[in-house]
Symmetry: C2
Subunit: 294 residues, 2 copies
DNA sequence: AAGTGGTCTAGACCACCCC
DNA sequence: GGGTGGTCTAGACCACTTA
């Protein structure tokens, strides 16, 4: 009568009264309000504000993280999972798709779903997007800090206007900072945002605040960052800020960050001290189905 | 979703059905052509080997590329598109999701679907993953070429073994190349692949062949590339290969490429001449739903 | 209140893998 | 053949936006 969740953790799903682990994994899922006679249905419930497919994905993810599902293991068939989780197959597949995107699962057509090694600790160490300065600092347990060189609005020059798709002369908020970790200068960050997009910018103290966070709080949905990365010799102007000899290598990262409608929001040029910083990211490739001949 | 190629595989996709005529079915949004004459039903046909949702996505994409749908424009409501394309709403939404991931569309809950400026020419110039050497060459209309310095199998050292999660001493195929564009040296590429994963490697002529393509042809499904990028001074050994003075800046790109099960397949270290190369990529950020209080 | 996207379902058929 | 994932449908309800 009790439906089991996978192999090792039969207790999590279908058991009404104990069932604490799943409840927490999924969300509120208040069990007290349970109908009392429908144990299996208690697995995932509509009480939670999260969509079912997110909940389902979380349940499976937590099983993996917990170690109940080892890499290489096969998952139960989709139709069986549907029964256990009490959701439709379409919904389950949406949950599985999410986990594929996160690198936690992979499927083979006639064979089944398999746990794929990554997706847990590895995933967190290799972000799918560029690790931000603040994130790096946190990972290395260093204290991030900024020295503000300029934080003021000025009319946009021709070049800046073109870069951000705005009219020349439009008020542009400039933020130039030296970024430090534990008081060691790591990079020079030269950013510009059209003032109209976040009028409160001049009032923020950027010695500690994160520009990215301020923009998100302003309701901007930053979705894409077109980037170029190159290696250069540091020039006499920048060298003292980074405490480098002129001619030493620096890493140049230039980004134009766009919102969901493709509108440029932020232009940023970061000059990292070559010897003190290293960009980290993980590129993924969607599984393709391009058979050359069927 | 974001997210997709990191190798020289841009041209692999087998486009069999050109399907140009269908295009009008979507763009014209002609309300008068109701159920009366049934022209819309001919829009997508099951004769094609491609799934319907791919076909639908291609139709919309071609409308955007063609300019029939300008950035900022609103698409017809989903239910109407379904009727025009003669597919179910679930299928249509899968097609739309693909276009969102490509950055061509975006949706707002109660408002509708909007064309988002990017996704056409821009998209092609800003790949979601690192532009490969071959792709860069093609974009710049230069001729790529390699000088092979080493192409041989050797037992894996301790470091190599750890990097690739194999036993020390396992046969490892080493491929060291100088990569050139129009006969100008651009980079040194030092790669290593466990021989067992592609036993034919030693027989390939890498003066012209692409290592990625060979691995794909061997049936390996390369899915993820954990990467670090840094800036260094070129050392006396590498300098002559790149025709640089010792101490000049180079860009160091190190990647460990994994297959779908998370197994490391390829380790590659590329040293780009700082003055002659610039990495290009477009990072995407998943829309997040981290409200602190619901 | 009407329009629109977001979620979910139950059931169907097909294509692939392995016995 | 039987099991399994991949695709597709028609219809339903909910949540958000706009009026």
């Amino acid at each position: 009568m009790v439906h089991k969740w996978f192999s090792a953790t039969g207790e999590v799903i279908g058991v009404r009264s104990p069932a604490p682990s799943i409840a927490t994994a999924v969300g509120t899922a208040d069990p007290s309000s349970g109908p009392g006679t429908e144990p299996a249905a208690a697995a995932l419930l509509t009480a939670s504000p999260e969509p079912l497919w997110i909940q389902a994905s979380n349940v499976i993810r937590s099983e993996i993280d917990k170690g109940a599902l080892q890499p290489g293991t096969r998952l139960p068939p989709e139709r069986e999972l549907c029964a256990q989780l009490n959701i439709s197959r379409v919904t389950l597949r949406k949950a599985l798709a999410k986990l594929v995107e996160e690198g936690a699962l992979s499927a083979t057509h006639g064979r089944g779903w398999y746990i794929s090694g990554a997706g847990t600790a590895t995933e967190r160490e290799w972000p799918h997007t560029l690790e931000s300065f603040t994130e790096t600092a946190r990972r290395m347990r260093l204290v991030p800090h900024s020295r503000v060189l300029r934080a003021a609005a000025q009319p946009a020059s021709l070049d800046e206007a073109e870069l951000l798709s705005i009219a020349p002369g439009t008020p542009l908020f400039h933020l130039d900072r030296v970024r430090l970790l534990d008081d060691v200068p790591i990079a020079i960050d030269i950013s510009a945002v059209p003032l109209a997009m976040a009028p409160d910018l001049p009032a923020v103290d950027f010695e500690t605040a994160s520009l990215y966070q301020v923009l998100l709080d302003a309701g901007l949905n930053l979705v894409r960052a077109d980037s170029t990365i190159e290696s250069r010799e540091v020039d006499p102007v920048d060298a003292p800020y980074l405490d480098l000899d002129v001619g030493k290598p620096i890493l140049l990262l230039h980004q134009v960050v766009l919102d969901e409608s493709g509108r440029p929001v932020l232009s940023s040029l970061v000059k990292y001290s070559g010897a003190r910083y290293r960009l980290r990211t993980s590129f993924t490739r969607q599984p393709r189905f391009d058979r050359t001949a069927p």
